[in-house]
């Protein structure tokens, strides 16, 4: 940037992975602009998915930091901790905070994440110890409520509820997980794969009440829809999450289930971008618009937003849902959409399902113990994202964990013989 140009003012709402990636995107293009981050949480960016590993004592608060201690200073970032953005004055390009501060901006990025969705359960107020499981502070306060004699009821058998269950199992007397869905991880696993994972979780000591959920609460008792009752000491609510869209919705910007963004992370409001779990983007594996609330996507989107905000060129054209999640040594990897023809491989230690349609890989599910079953997964993910025709790809070899070795010779030589 030449000296005569004005220093650009960037404001980022949210200090998670998308916000951090936005900083890195801006700095990849503009080394001098002023960056201000509005952080509702009072922590430097940390690895949110690690809160269950924290409770499992596989990491600690120090190692959970997403970036090194010098990150903000080195990047010239001013972080306003404990502050909440309450209103965007988009006509004059100013952001109003809860303490009356007004931040002028040239480019604004909303990376506000999502919030736990708590259904209006009857009697929830009568429950003494209840927690969500979204933030480091949630994990720290849940930890204080746990003793070796604690009975825990978790409402929600999705990614958040089950990682919480795994994280605390060794520290409490019992963990029961209930969900209205008839299977675990219903957002990413089909029925058969879900039953493999459920058995693994049960073998390790977690109890389930599926196809049933809490109807109401009375103190330490949950009365289920089926009429059964569950006694508990600690309740964890992991029913679902809602994208934090209100800043954009309130000024008439386009919002569906998330803030609508294009491939450059522009919202419908000029000068305002959005990234991460609060957005709704395009899933190229299905062609559908959806909230893809996963950490890699938060980074990709945040980096794209930052780069574009700073006048650089970047776009995200190949987002897909994808997950890698493990419980007690059994991993499940999933990506894309489960449509088209299914190709299956079953062994003692793993179950693989690949889905192809119109000579394109659409999605896969791999579930198993050990790492060998997953060696080819990254190549499969890349094929889903690129939508490259499978001609030349040795599908059988890919299935048998060949990874990039299964690609056609020309592609392989390009990858292993040159700079990629």
């Amino acid at each position: 940037m030449s000296g005569s140009e004005q220093i650009k003012k960037y404001v980022i709402v949210g200090n998670g992975v998308a916000g951090t990636a936005c900083i890195e995107g801006i700095r990849s293009t503009d080394k001098t602009g002023k960056i201000t981050v509005v952080a509702e949480e009072t922590h430097a960016a940390y690895c949110r998915p690690l809160i269950s590993y924290y409770l499992e004592q596989k990491t600690d608060v120090c190692r959970m930091q997403y970036r090194d201690p010098g990150f903000y200073e080195r990047n010239g970032v001013d972080v306003l901790y404990g502050r909440r953005a309450i209103h965007i004055r988009s006509d004059v390009k100013e952001l109003e905070l809860d303490d009356g501060t007004v931040l002028p901006y040239d480019a604004l990025c909303i990376a506000a994440g999502s919030s736990p969705f708590v259904p209006p359960f009857e009697g929830l107020d009568s429950v003494g110890r209840k927690f969500s499981f979204m933030t480091l502070d949630d994990a720290l306060s849940l930890e204080k409520a746990l003793t070796p004699s604690t009975r825990v009821l978790i409402v929600g058998a999705g990614l958040i509820g089950l990682k919480c269950a795994e994280g605390i199992l060794g520290r409490v007397a019992s963990v029961t997980v209930c969900d209205l869905a008839d299977r675990v991880l219903s957002s990413i696993l089909d029925a058969e794969c879900a039953s493999v994972m459920q058995k693994n979780l049960e073998d390790n000591g977690i109890s389930f009440m599926l196809g049933d959920s809490a109807a109401r609460f009375d103190g330490n008792t949950a009365i289920m829809k089926s009429g059964r009752t569950v006694e508990f000491d600690v309740l964890v609510l992991a029913v679902g999450v809602r994208a934090n869209t209100s800043l954009i919705k309130d000024i008439g910007g386009e919002v569906n289930r998330g803030i609508v963004v294009n491939s450059r992370m522009e919202t419908s409001v000029p000068g305002i971008y959005a990234a991460g779990d609060c957005t709704e983007g395009n899933d190229v594996s299905s062609g559908a618009r959806k909230v893809i609330a996963i950490l890699p996507n938060a980074y990709f989107q945040g980096h794209t937003a930052g780069t574009v905000m700073a006048g650089g060129s970047e776009s995200l054209e190949n987002a897909i849902p994808m997950n890698s999640i493990g419980f007690f040594g059994v991993h499940a990897m999933t990506a894309g959409s489960y449509t088209g023809e299914m190709h299956e491989e079953k062994t003692e230690s793993c179950l693989k399902r690949l889905f192809t349609e119109d000579n394109i890989l659409k999605g896969f599910i791999i579930i198993g113990s050990g790492a060998a079953a997953f060696r080819g997964a990254g190549t499969m993910t890349a094929l889903i994202r690129s939508r490259a025709p499978l001609s030349g790809v040795d599908l059988e070899l890919l299935m048998h964990s060949g990874g990039a070795a299964a690609l056609d010779g020309g592609e392989r030589r390009k990858i292993f013989g040159g700079v990629v």
């Binding site: 990636a21 690895c47 998915p49 690690l50 590993y53 596989k58 990491t59 190692r63 959970m64 930091q65 997403y66 970036r67 950490l295 890699p296 980074y299 990709f300 980096h303 994808m322 997950n323 890698s324 999640i325 493990g326 040594g329 991993h331 990897m333 990506a335 790492a371 997953f374 060696r375 080819g376 997964a377 990254g378 190549t379 993910t381 890349a382 790809v393 040795d394 070899l397 060949g402 990874g403 990039a404 070795a405 299964a406 690609l407 056609d408 010779g409 392989r412 030589r413 990858i415 292993f416 013989g417 040159g418 700079v419 990629v420």
Partner: protein, 150 residues
């Protein structure tokens, strides 16, 4: 920067690269002591390649490309992967073994060590070799360490 490149036509499938890699990263000075009777977790893997025209089984050693836009760095849920002087490096102290990097690496370059923590080729910059042991020990020059563009 210098990277490891593969001339796959020259790969004999002998797997010496795997053993030299595991030895180089063992921290030990005696290869027999480092490898004999132990499970080996190398950071380079010899894979069977697609049999074009079925001319017989061929193999290719696969390790990190130290690519220009590493998906593993952007996707790591623990912030454990970063680029240090061009080398894509993993902080094993931060890794929690979630396998997300395996899910996103298009080349299949990452795998866990014996303890479930991820490891990858770091061009032997963190061990006593200082230059890739797989290359030094390849009997047919199927893997080389050199500058090619960028």
């Amino acid at each position: 920067m210098k990277r490891v490149y593969v001339n796959e036509e020259w790969c004999l499938g002998c797997r010496l690269c795997e053993y030299n890699c595991a030895f180089a990263n063992s921290g030990l000075t005696d290869m027999v002591e480092a490898l004999r009777g132990k499970p080996v977790f190398p950071r380079i893997h010899v894979e069977t390649v697609s049999a074009e025209g079925k001319e017989g089984q061929r193999t290719i050693p696969i390790s990190c490309r130290h690519c220009t836009d590493p998906m593993c760095i952007k996707s790591c849920i623990a912030g454990a992967i970063s680029r240090v002087n061009g080398v894509v490096s993993i902080d094993k102290n931060k890794c929690v073994g979630c396998f997300t990097c395996m899910l996103v690496c298009p080349y299949g370059a990452l795998a866990p060590d014996g303890d479930g923590v991820m490891q990858k080729c770091e061009l032997c910059v963190k061990n006593a070799c200082g230059t890739p042991a797989c290359v030094a020990g390849c009997p047919n020059r199927a893997i080389v360490f050199e500058e090619r563009g960028d």
